[in-house]
């Protein structure tokens, strides 16, 4: 299974990528919102891990664009972000985000949430 990680911090991106690669997933990486959207549309990953605050295009904008595109409408999304206010969490869930994971985070827990989100779409 292929997972796209969209995160502007290269350190966090690599930590998450290494964890998921160790779990056996194929991983692709995006450093900003525009790249994330383009890769999500062209590569059609099985799941997207998305930061909320990113250069060029905000995480919520990426979710909106993906939900409007029939090719990516059903793509499960896990938000990984330090924006954990009520408005942020509710905003993400209303847009159709599967999981909302606050930073600081545990890569092990993220891995479990990824499994759960993937299980929901392909049991």
């Amino acid at each position: 299974m292929k997972i796209l990680i969209a995160e502007d911090s290269p350190t966090v991106r690599r930590v998450v990528a290494a964890r998921l690669a160790a779990d056996g997933y194929a991983v692709i990486e995006a450093a900003d919102g525009e790249e994330a959207l383009a890769l999500a549309q062209s590569e059609q990953p099985d799941l997207l891990i998305l930061d909320k605050v990113m250069p060029k295009l905000d995480g919520f904008e990426v979710v909106r664009a993906l939900r409007e595109d029939p090719r990516t409408r059903a793509m499960p999304i896990v938000m990984l972000t330090d924006r954990t206010g009520e408005d942020d969490v509710l905003g993400g869930l209303q847009l159709g985000v599967e999981e909302y994971m606050p930073k600081p985070f545990s890569p092990h827990e993220l891995s479990a949430r990824v499994r759960r989100a993937l299980g929901r779409v392909s049991p």
Partner: protein
């Protein structure tokens, strides 16, 4: 006169030349650091990521620059991680000798080095640094002292260290209030009982007592409710904080004391309003008649009373209906607005 002018021009030329040399040296230094960072960073990120993912290879760094980049990346990751991976990374930082270096750095002559070392130890929060951190509580720099006090509070430790942490909070509250607030918060989270000497001590500066009182309330430390109740009789600012804290804790045993404060027209409005709000948070139905009487008081008190009555169920609603029907225009308007669904 001419000689003086020539000397001045020469001096100015030399000064400009020195200044330019300094600027060039700084720019070269920044470029070099940037170049080294670009060279070593990807390897450091990959090494740490793979180590955290469970690969057996431990990240290595040879030279000074490479070590500095590896530490910067590790600290960055540490800030974003929690759980077992965070512990593993902290252990790695320890194992690679950074903690020992930072402990030694706390004794450096240069203040910047000591501050940097304190920041590293704060990020790693290693119990092995307790001794060095305790010694640094006597540092000449308040930023170093408070950073070490905060780390010690998070790590926990002997009672002697707690007493020294409290001494730092009292000493540095005016110089670095934000850092002291972080120390008191850390203490409240890791060792809640250690806040007692700050809440109850009348010899402590009122600013640090206010912080301790607020922390006790926000963390809902009910073990301090008795001390907070005693604070209601103190100066208005302390009493206001204590009243808010008791409201957040939801301490039903404080209802009488809070009603005394709310109804005492010799006390400042913010303290009385805080007591009124606390009565609402606690859900103190016996306070309804008092709150109803405050609907004719000054605006801040009346607004607090309306909000509190909204939280008191049927008796509160009945009091608001009665106020809405009254001939007092402000109270009536506010009560009507509060009753709107």
């Amino acid at each position: 006169m001419k000689a003086v002018l020539e000397a001045a021009v020469t001096l100015l030329t030399v000064l400009v030349a020195v200044l330019m040399a300094v600027i060039i040296a700084i720019r070269i230094g920044i470029r070099r650091r940037y170049r080294l960072e670009r060279r070593y960073r990807p390897g450091a990120e990959l090494g740490i990521a793979e180590y955290l993912a469970g690969l057996p290879r431990v990240p290595e760094a040879g030279g000074r620059s490479e070590r500095a980049v590896l530490l910067a990346v590790a600290l960055e990751a540490l800030g974003d991680l929690r759980g077992s991976e965070r512990e593993r990374l902290a252990e790695l930082i320890d194992r690679l000798g950074y903690t020992a270096e930072a402990m030694a750095g706390l004794r450096a002559r240069r203040r910047a080095r000591r501050r940097q070392s304190a920041a590293i130890l704060a990020a790693v929060a290693s119990a092995s640094a307790t001794h060095a951190l305790t010694a640094a509580l006597d540092d000449t720099d308040p930023i170093v002292r408070t950073a070490c006090a905060r780390t010690l509070a998070e790590v926990g430790g002997a009672d002697a260290a707690t007493a020294a942490i409290i001494a730092v909070a009292k000493r540095d509250i005016r110089a670095v209030p934000g850092a002291v607030a972080a120390v008191v918060l850390a203490l409240g989270i890791a060792q809640p009982s250690a806040l007692a000497p700050l809440i109850g001590a009348s010899d402590a500066p009122p600013e640090v007592r206010s912080i301790a009182i607020e922390v006790a309330g926000r963390l809902r430390l009910s073990e301090h409710a008795k001390l907070l109740r005693a604070c209601l009789r103190e100066q208005d600012e302390i009493a206001a904080g204590a009243a808010s804290g008791l409201g957040m804790i939801g301490d039903v045993r404080s209802v009488d004391a809070l009603m005394d404060l709310a109804g005492d027209d010799r006390r400042a409005l913010p303290a009385r309003a805080a007591a009124v709000a606390a009565l609402g948070s606690i859900g103190a139905a016996p306070a309804v008649p008092l709150l109803e009487s405050l609907l004719g008081a000054d605006w801040p008190l009346m607004a607090a009373a309306v909000r509190a009555l909204c939280r008191l169920g049927d008796p509160g609603t009945a009091a608001l209906r009665s106020a809405a029907a009254s001939s007092r225009p402000e109270a009536s308007a506010m009560a009507e607005a509060a009753l709107e669904p």
